[in-house]
Amino acid sequence: MIWWAAIALFQQTIALDIPSKNPNTSEADVAAGKKLFNGRCAGCHGPAGEGGKGANLAVPRLTRAQEDRALYRVIRYGVPDTEMPASLMDAHEIWQVAAFVRTLGRVQSVAVTGDAANGASLFKGKGGCIGCHTVGLEGGRSGPALSGVGARRGAQHLRAKLLDPSASVPENFRMVHITTRDGKTIRGQQLNEDTFSIQLRDGADRFHSLWREDIAAITSERKTPMPSYKGRLSDSEIDDVVAYMASLRGDQ
């Protein structure tokens, strides 16, 4: 029994013994990392790390992976409660992918020219954004929370979103209308589903969970209730709101 405890301890030691700095950052490592990335990561994160089903990685700061060791852990073990799975690569390969991912953040970002303070007033006042979006302690719940949106999304993406919100509705954001077999109707944001059941949150923030056999009809739309701000806000006001959102980093 002692030998087996020793092995367990030994394996634990290996797991903890992750260097704090990426040991594989040569040009060749980055090239190898790019190849691995294309095969294993681009499916969700896009070939240039621009994001899709997976997070946008072409940002200056990865919130979950600011240190090399944290990036290693994210790739190695995945992110709980997200679709980011644990990795299938060996340590050397993970470091190579990490090296490549770091180069994505060096992509030139579009300069933010607006006035963030005025953007904040517009966000909470004239724009009405706060009615649907949580920022810190304030805000509504029907749209995605934006507390750290500046760390996740580039200014260009934020601007496009304000001007044409229906162009890219998040994969996980779906409004559904359900009629149950006993005649009730429920409309809400779909939170989860599987072969047998569906979960949603209605406009009054109540949770519902239904078996599919109890549902008479279900329609779902990937349409966003968010209006376009083209024409609602002036060009410079849009700049200001973008500057405000870009400043939201998820910290105080």
Binding site: F10, L36, G39, D90, D194, F196
Partner: protein
């Protein structure tokens, strides 16, 4: 009399080749990966049936101490269950209580190479030994009573990208075992080892070397890195004495330019003489594959009337979205038709060779093709019910955008030549479908809201058991597809179900998330 009984018990403990041949005659056990040599994954047990399956409850749950995928199919012999756990561990459990009887824990080097998880799909058993392949490419024989290592054979140097994830197949006096590593530019093979000593009996290279027939289907020296791994357990027919084993993708996966030609024997069904390791016939499903469509599904062997004549058939729902029926004596192509959405071929010609559509190869910009990289089926076991004479398949309906990339080979590193991603906005879904095995026509369908990651089990209780990516296991009525029972197990299910008796109770066992569940009707 008592002496005789003792003798019988002792003999009973030995799992002979004769017992494996007649696995159906002891349905309380589950003696091979697929339950029998013919790859049926069918249990003749019927204590659990359409009238009582709604009352199915876990008898016990065994949790593995690993967050890796849990893909094992348990083997059960006379009250003892043998499972594998990540990375290459073996555990013997009491089938009644789920309590551990012994454990084999193998320390793994830090630099093992696996494309798709530190997984293992199960053990084989023969005599009084339990056999496991390891991620560092050893084949190991353990004492079935204690877990002690009886022999340990190094199959090949794992550092070049080889690993073993497959459940070995024990037959006669040999252990047949395949190799993984198709994403590392390996040269694939299928091996057989002497069951008693661990000495290699034969090796068949799935990529022919210079001077061998088939080597001309590889441009230049690309055969050296041709892959064609053998990572899913095949089938065996004692009448033909042939082992039927599928082979994987050619390497590199998505860049075919560096390996012009048909790339034999990648994506093939191989029929190999069990005694000599000599190739009797082959059938290539996807010549010059550029989409990573391994033909590493489980072949299903049945004897049935085909267009008026009784024939020995091999059924094969391929990852490339075509369903094939072959004559397993000669390898002759008999039937092939799509069983899921596919956009890469107009159809198959009279010899079963695909007639490809234009512009379906991966490009730098990306090419949308159905099915997905994971395919219409993957290693997920189909099931054949002799009771209903239906073949059940967990079908995956999805496509991908395929990318072409450079392919520079470096030993021990991934050799992909491209990549893939999901098609934005395109739904991916699944279904359990029941097919007439000789016509490929679907009889019924049970729709699933997402892609399955495991196969199916059918039983003589007129039941079909399947699982979902969201963690449910469920039972359908075998002849109609009606849903009869479901249970949420708490994590993506990635193992194929099996069934056995413990005492007088029929169990159905399957891995879900990081646990093995064993269900009974209380």
């Amino acid at each position: 009399m008592r002496l005789l009984l003792l003798c019988a018990l002792t003999l009973g403990a030995q799992v002979t080749h004769e017992r494996l041949l007649k696995a159906e005659s002891e349905p309380h056990n589950w003696l091979t990966y697929s339950g029998n040599f013919a790859g049926h994954r069918y249990s003749p047990l019927h204590q659990i049936n359409t009238s009582n399956v709604a009352k199915l409850k876990p008898a016990w749950v065994y949790q593995t101490n690993s967050l890796q995928k849990f893909e094992t199919t348990p083997i059960v012999v006379d009250g003892v269950m043998y499972i594998t756990e990540s990375p290459s561990h073996v555990t013997a459990l009491d089938t009644k209580t789920g309590r551990t009887l012994w454990r084999y824990r193998r320390p793994m080097p830090d630099d093992i190479k696996v494309c798709c998880g530190q997984v293992n799909r199960g053990v084989a058993i023969l005599g009084d030994l339990v056999y496991v392949g390891t991620l560092d490419s050893h084949l190991i024989a353990l004492d079935a009573k204690t877990g002690a290592v009886r022999w340990d054979t190094n199959v090949i140097d794992y550092r070049a990208g080889y690993s073993i994830t497959v459940a070995p197949l024990a037959l006669k006096d040999k252990i047949v075992v395949g190799i993984a590593g198709g994403e590392y530019g390996i040269r694939g093979f299928l091996d057989a080892y002497d069951a008693k000593t661990g000495k290699r009996a034969w090796r068949f290279y799935t990529v022919p070397g210079p001077g061998e027939k088939g080597n001309e289907t590889w441009a230049n020296d690309s055969w050296k890195r041709g892959a064609a791994a053998t990572w899913v357990t095949g089938a065996y027919d004692p009448d033909t004495n042939l082992v039927y084993w599928g082979t994987g993708n050619p390497g590199p996966d998505w860049n075919g330019d560096v390996r012009k030609g048909d790339n034999l024997y990648s994506d093939c069904m191989l029929a190999i003489d069990a005694d000599t390791g000599k190739l009797k016939w082959y059938f290539q499903f996807t010549p010059h594959d550029v989409h990573d469509w391994d033909a590493t599904e489980v072949p299903v062997l049945i004897d049935a009337e085909f267009r008026g004549a009784k024939r020995k058939l091999l059924l094969f729902p391929n990852r490339n979205a075509f369903y094939y029926v072959l004559d397993r004596v000669t390898g002759q192509f008999l039937l092939g038709k799509p069983y899921a959405k596919q956009t890469w071929a107009k159809g198959l010609d009279d010899n079963g060779r695909p007639m490809r559509n234009e512009n379906t190869a991966p490009t730098v910009q990306g090419t949308v093709v159905f099915p997905s990289v994971g395919g219409a089926n993957n290693w997920y076991s189909p099931s054949y019910s002799p009771q209903n004479q239906l073949l059940y398949i967990a079908v995956r309906e999805a496509g991908h955008i395929y990318y072409f990339g450079e392919a520079e080979f470096k030993e021990g590193e991934q050799y992909n030549g491209g990549g893939f991603r999901s098609i934005p906005g395109e739904p991916e879904w699944g279904a359990i479908r029941a097919y007439n095995p000789t016509t490929g026509e679907a009889k019924w369908e049970f729709k699933m809201s997402s892609l399955p990651f495991s196969g199916v089990l059918s039983t003589a209780g007129n039941l079909v058991f399947g699982t979902t990516g969201e963690g449910q296991v469920f039972a359908l009525q075998g002849d109609t597809g009606r849903l009869l029972w479901r249970f949420q197990g708490g994590g993506t299910a990635r193992g194929n179900a099996m069934s056995y008796m413990s005492g007088d109770k029929q169990h159905v066992a399957v891995t879900i998330g990081n646990s093995l569940y064993s269900f009974v009707v209380e």
